[in-house]
C-alpha cells in the first residue's frame, strides 16, 4: 500500500535482507499470536461459558440498546454542536471587536479544558444548582459545549479558506454582509468542511463513552455491567471495543473518501485545524496532505 519510501528501489543486498526480515518478523508475529491465544486459553478466557452469553438475544439486545443510546447522544450532541459552532464561528468573524473578543475567550476557554471535566461537572454540579435533567442531557451538554467550540474553529477555518474573491464579487453585486455570508460564503465553505465534520463525529462517538463514568447507560457502561453479571469482563469489553472499532473505522473511511473526493474537486487542501487535539480531522488530513505534497514534488 505504501510505495517504497526510498527514492531508489533496494539493490540485491537490500532485497535479500528485506526477504529475511520479512520471514523472521512474520514468524515472530505468528508466535506472538499463538502465545497470546495459548495464554488466554490457559487462563480460561476462551471457555465457551465466557462467550456463550453473547449468543443470547437478551444480551445482544442489551448491547444494541447501549449502542443505540450512544449513537443517539452522539447525533443529538453533533446537531447541537453544529448549531453552537456556526454561531461561534460567525461571532468570531464579526466586525465588532467586543463580540469577537468574548467569543474568542469562550472558545479558547472550553477548548483548553478536558471534556471529562466538563461532563463530570455537568453531571455532578448542575443538580446542586437546581438544574435537574436526565444523565443523557448532562452528557449531551458537556459534549455540545466542547464540540461546539471545536466545530466553531473548524467552521471558521472553512469560511476563511474561501477565496476572498468570492466575498468581493458578492459585494460588487450589491450584496450586504449577511447576504454575502448566507448566499455565497457559507454554502461553499460548508461543502468543504464535510470531511472534517465527519471526523469530528467519530471523535464525538468515542467521547460519548465518557458517560460511563457518570452512570450514563451507554455502550461501555452496559459492557461493564454485562461483564460483572456474567463474570466475563474481558470478553464483554472486547465486544464493546469491537463495536466501537467497526463503527468508527467505517466513519473514518467515509471521512477519508469524502476528503479525497473534495481535494480532487476543489484543488484546495482540506481543512486543517491547528491544535484541534487528537481529532482525527487533524491527523488524517495532515497525513494525506503531506502525502499529496510529497507526490506533487
Amino acid at each position: 500500500m505504501t510505495a517504497p519510501f526510498i527514492g531508489d528501489a533496494l539493490g540485491p543486498r537490500g532485497r535479500r535482507i528485506t526477504q529475511v526480515v520479512t520471514v523472521v518478523s512474520a514468524v515472530a508475529l505468528l508466535a506472538f499470536v499463538v502465545i497470546a491465544f495459548g495464554r488466554l486459553s490457559d487462563k480460561g478466557q476462551l471457555d465457551a461459558s465466557k462467550w456463550e452469553p453473547f449468543g443470547d438475544w437478551p444480551v445482544q439486545k442489551f448491547f444494541l440498546e447501549g449502542l443505540r443510546t450512544t449513537v443517539e447522544v452522539a447525533l443529538v450532541s453533533m446537531t447541537g454542536a453544529m448549531v453552537l459552532g456556526t454561531f461561534l464561528a460567525l461571532a468570531r468573524l464579526a466586525r465588532t471587536g467586543p463580540v469577537r473578543w468574548v467569543t474568542t475567550l469562550f472558545v479558547e476557554f472550553f477548548r483548553g479544558l478536558p471534556l471529562v471535566l466538563l461532563i463530570f461537572f455537568s453531571a455532578l454540579g448542575l443538580p446542586t444548582y437546581g438544574v435537574d435533567l436526565s444523565v443523557f442531557w448532562y452528557v449531551a451538554i458537556g459534549l455540545i459545549i466542547y464540540n461546539g467550540a471545536v466545530l466553531g474553529e473548524i467552521f471558521r477555518a472553512g469560511i476563511l479558506s474561501l477565496d476572498r474573491g468570492q466575498t468581493e464579487a458578492a459585494y460588487s453585486l450589491g450584496m450586504g454582509y449577511w447576504q454575502a455570508m448566507l448566499l455565497v460564503v457559507i454554502p461553499q465553505a460548508a461543502r468543504r468542511m464535510i470531511p472534517a465534520i465527519v471526523s469530528q463525529l467519530v471523535t464525538l462517538l468515542k467521547d460519548s463513552s465518557l458517560g460511563a463514568a457518570v452512570a450514563f447507560e451507554e455502550l461501555l457502561r452496559r459492557g461493564r455491567i454485562n461483564g460483572e453479571f456474567f463474570q466475563n469482563p474481558l470478553q464483554s469489553l472486547v465486544v464493546v471495543a469491537a463495536l466501537y472499532i467497526v463503527v468508527n473505522f467505517a466513519l473514518s473511511m467515509l471521512a477519508r473518501r469524502l476528503e479525497v473526493r473534495q481535494r480532487r474537486r476543489y484543488k484546495a487542501g482540506a481543512i486543517v485545524v491547528a491544535g484541534a487535539g487528537m481529532d482525527l480531522a487533524l491527523m488524517g488530513v495532515q497525513g494525506d496532505a503531506a502525502e499529496a505534497a510529497d507526490t506533487a514534488t
Partner: protein, 214 residues
C-alpha cells in the same frame, strides 16, 4: 470563590500529578510512536501490517474503553498493574498511535531527494531512516507533536475513572466535598489552562528553534 484559594494546595497537587502522568506517558509514547512510524514505512510487509493494524485498532477505540480493559480485564489474564501504571500504559499506547501517524506524515514530507541521496552514498534503509530522514521528519512535526502533548494533558483527565489522583479527580472531590461546584470547576479550568498555555508557547519556541532553514 474562596473555596479555590483555601484549597490551592489541592489544585497544585493535582497539577503536579497530572503533569507527572502526562510527561511520563508522552515520553514513552514518543519513543513508541517513532518505532510505530518506522515500522509503518518499512519495506517489510509484516511490519507495515502489524503497525497499521495496531494504529487502526487503538485509534478507533475510546480511551475509557482501553482504560477499563487494562484495569478490569487484564487481571483475568494475569496482568495486574497499579492504577497509575495502568493509566500510563493506556495513555502511552493511545498517544503513540497519533505520534506514529504524525511522524509518518513528517517522513512523507521529507523530499525524496534526501532518501535518494542517502541511497546514493550507500546507506542502508535503517541507516538512511535513522541518520537522514528521521531527524528532518521530526524537526518538521514539532508543532503537531506539541498539539498531541496538549491533547494528552487533557486526556489524562480520563484517568479519574480508574481512581488515579490527578487534577480532574481533585477538583471533582473538592466540588463534592464543599458542594461548591462552580468555583471548583473554574479552579480546575484555570489549572488546566496554566498547564496547556505554557505548553503551547514552549512548542512554538521549540518549533522556531529547530526549524529547517533552507
Amino acid at each position: 470563590m474562596s473555596v479555590v484559594f483555601d484549597n490551592l494546595d489541592i489544585f497544585l497537587e493535582g497539577m503536579r500529578r497530572t503533569l507527572e502522568l502526562s510527561v511520563l506517558s508522552f515520553i514513552l509514547a514518543f519513543l513508541l510512536g517513532i518505532l510505530v512510524a518506522a515500522m509503518r514505512v518499512s519495506p517489510v510487509p509484516p511490519l507495515r501490517w502489524a503497525s497499521a493494524t495496531y494504529i487502526e485498532l487503538v485509534r478507533n477505540t475510546p480511551l475509557l474503553v482501553l482504560m477499563f480493559v487494562v484495569v478490569f480485564a487484564f487481571p483475568s489474564i494475569g496482568f495486574t498493574y497499579s492504577y497509575f501504571a495502568s493509566a500510563v500504559i493506556v495513555l502511552t499506547a493511545y498517544t503513540a498511535t497519533f505520534v506514529g501517524e504524525t511522524v509518518r506524515s513528517g517522513i512523507n514530507a521529507v523530499s525524496t531527494g534526501q532518501a535518494e541521496a542517502a541511497r546514493a552514498i550507500g546507506l542502508t534503509f535503517p541507516q538512511s531512516l535513522r541518520l537522514v530522514v528521521m531527524p528532518q521528519a521530526l524537526r518538521t512535526v514539532v508543532g503537531p507533536l506539541g498539539g498531541i502533548f496538549i491533547a494528552l494533558l487533557k486526556n489524562s483527565g480520563v484517568a479519574v475513572a480508574i481512581n488515579v489522583p490527578e487534577l480532574t479527580s481533585a477538583a471533582t472531590q473538592l466540588g463534592t466535598d464543599t458542594a461548591q461546584f462552580i468555583p471548583a470547576f473554574l479552579g480546575a479550568a484555570a489549572a488546566y489552562l496554566m498547564l496547556t498555555i505554557p505548553s503551547g508557547f514552549a512548542t512554538n519556541w521549540l518549533e522556531r528553534r529547530v526549524a529547517i532553514k533552507r
